[in-house]
């Protein structure tokens, strides 16, 4: 029996099996149609629940003051205006803030990828004493709510010092608050925003790669560092993209650390958005909360645009990456 025959035979079996499940004839077809309708209803309904508020926000951001008080206006404004966008644009100082934010999240993401993949590789491929216990600690950092370490961290960065060196030189410990430095430092030492999860993802991924590549590299005289940088990291693209997207999105959305380290609002776009309504009310003399809310809607649209752009460009790789990156077992 040659290969083609096997294929034909196999297909026949498959068709039969299909018939068994869906019971050939009209009954089976009705069942299939019913299932498709059911699926369509559920999916469209759920999509509406997710998209509804977003559509509402976007349409509201074009409303003018008179539309807000016109009860016959729903979703489509009668007097569309760009005034809200102008206000949000000016009060957010959009391009400047966005520039700072992008530099910040991209740097953080690069550090995350670099550090977490390194640590993940260390856990995946080397044996050292207490390895299981230490990896348990990584899990602990995933599970532990961040607010339990909030106050000591605040104090730590309020008077930041390494073994008293800074105090000896400048006479005073450095105050790292009101800047992004604490976040850079924490990320650099593998304890940034959800770093534990990223370490876990990388470890799972590296464990799934065949050992033979590294053995070949070793025999060819490559050291562990060279192997890691030149071979393993290049092979870990699915995991890298997964981590990159998650890291960027979560860092972009993060308010907890931004608030805790009182990062400058002029540098963090989402953080600035949280004060937009107050700013508009104060600076533009808009006293009506319903109307100043419109500027916030415009602001949200503006804030979501870049992250949506990043997501849409990467989403194909992202979904594929997640499926292959070993989050699963």
């Amino acid at each position: 029996m040659n290969a083609r025959n096997v294929m034909v035979y196999y297909r026949k079996i498959n068709e039969k099996a299909h018939d068994v499940t869906f019971r050939s004839g009209a009954f089976g077809r009705v069942k299939l149609v019913l299932f498709s309708v059911f699926r369509a209803v559920i999916i469209i309904g759920m999509s509406y629940i997710i998209l509804g508020p977003v559509i509402n926000i976007v349409s509201n951001s074009f409303f003018s003051g008179s539309d807000v008080y016109n009860p016959s206006v729903f979703m489509i404004p009668l007097n569309p205006t760009l005034e809200n966008y102008r206000r949000a644009f000016v009060r957010l100082d959009y391009f400047r803030t966005l520039g700072y934010t992008l530099v910040y999240i991209v740097t953080i993401t690069l550090i995350q990828i670099f550090v977490c993949s390194m640590v993940g590789y260390g856990f995946a491929r080397f044996d050292f004493p207490l390895k299981k216990l230490l990896f348990g600690c990584v899990i602990v950092t995933i599970v532990l709510p961040a607010h339990v370490i909030m106050l000591p961290l605040y104090q730590h960065f309020r008077k930041w010092d390494v073994l008293g060196i800074i105090e000896a030189v400048t006479g005073e410990a450095a105050n790292l608050l009101s800047s992004e430095t604490p976040m850079y430092l924490m990320t650099l030492f593998g304890t940034g925003l959800r770093s534990g999860l990223f370490i876990y993802i990388f470890r799972q991924f590296f464990r799934g790669l065949p050992k033979e590549i590294e053995e070949a590299a070793f025999i060819d005289g490559a050291g562990p560092w060279y192997t890691y940088f030149a071979i393993m990291l290049a092979n870990a693209m699915p995991a890298v993209i997964t981590v990159a997207v998650f890291s960027m999105v979560w860092q972009y959305n993060d308010m907890f650390y931004a608030r805790l380290f009182s990062m400058p609002t002029s540098h963090i776009l989402t953080f600035r958005l949280s004060t937009l309504q107050a700013t508009v009310e104060f600076a533009d003399q808009v006293k009506d909360p319903l109307i100043s809310q419109l500027a916030v809607y415009a602001g949200i649209t503006l804030v979501l645009l870049p992250i949506l752009f990043i997501y849409f460009t990467l989403q194909k790789y992202f979904v594929e990456g997640i499926e292959r990156s070993g989050i699963v077992g």
């Binding site: 509804g52 509201n60 080397f126 044996d127 230490l134 105050n175 030492f189 809607y297 077992g329």
Partner: protein, 302 residues
Amino acid sequence: MKRKIRFTLSQKRAVTGLLFIMPWLIGFLVYYVRSLVLNVRFSLSKIEIMKIGGYRATYIGLQNYRYALLEHATFNQILVNSIRDVLIDIPFIIFFSLFMAILLNTKFKGRGIVRIIFFLPILLGSGAVLESLEQATRNITGGASATIAELSKTNQINIDYFLYIFEDLGLPVALVDYITGLVARIFEIVRASSVQIIIFLAALQSIPRSLYECAKIEGATAYETFWKITFPMVSPLILTNVVYTIVDFFVNSEVVDLAYEVAFTNYDYGLSAAMSTLSTAVVCLILVIVSALISRKTFYYN
């Protein structure tokens, strides 16, 4: 020279491995272990904040805990409410995300777009955006995500009437409450389950196709296939998802906000630390119990 020779290959690799994890190890010790210890110490002391930025701690024993649990106006209630909410949501989030993952895993037109839509909530997760989103949600009149109470106002439907009918039908009140509660918070639940959907989807795709083919040849129905193949194969991920749900829930819960407010508005570090420690202890307890319960029933393929 002699010493160098004594290093075996495995010892060398152990050292390299430690070097690889060194950044994390330092960070863990400095930022986590130290902070945890300090946090417990804070919670056992009265903290006075100095003007130059330091603090002085005087040991006062369990007074902060006693105050948080017995005297503070809202802490008790908020903690209990958060625990109740998370326990109510978990079964539904898990069920819902598994269900959606199975639907999204079937072939249909426009699957790519639907997948993008379902992962959108991850992008909408920021604090400021969320607040406004919730506001916007409430403004959609007649939308499925409007709360029951508002539904009854805007659409002139008397929800209470239907609730009475359900109760007259003999359904237990707790069940009716549970379902109406879920419907009222459907938006939050859908939003909270997007990562879980991704994880289940990935799990579904990693199930070997041959298992399904076998089942088909043996004449198994779709129902049997689900319970004998799909469910056992994704069951390890149920634990992952439950843990993720609990952790994610407490990151954004009111308990955190309260602890933050007490620390940075009232400058009562001791009390705030006590609150954080208490809520963390509760979260860890829930995690341990839940994972112990689930891992007993889990099936591991390998």
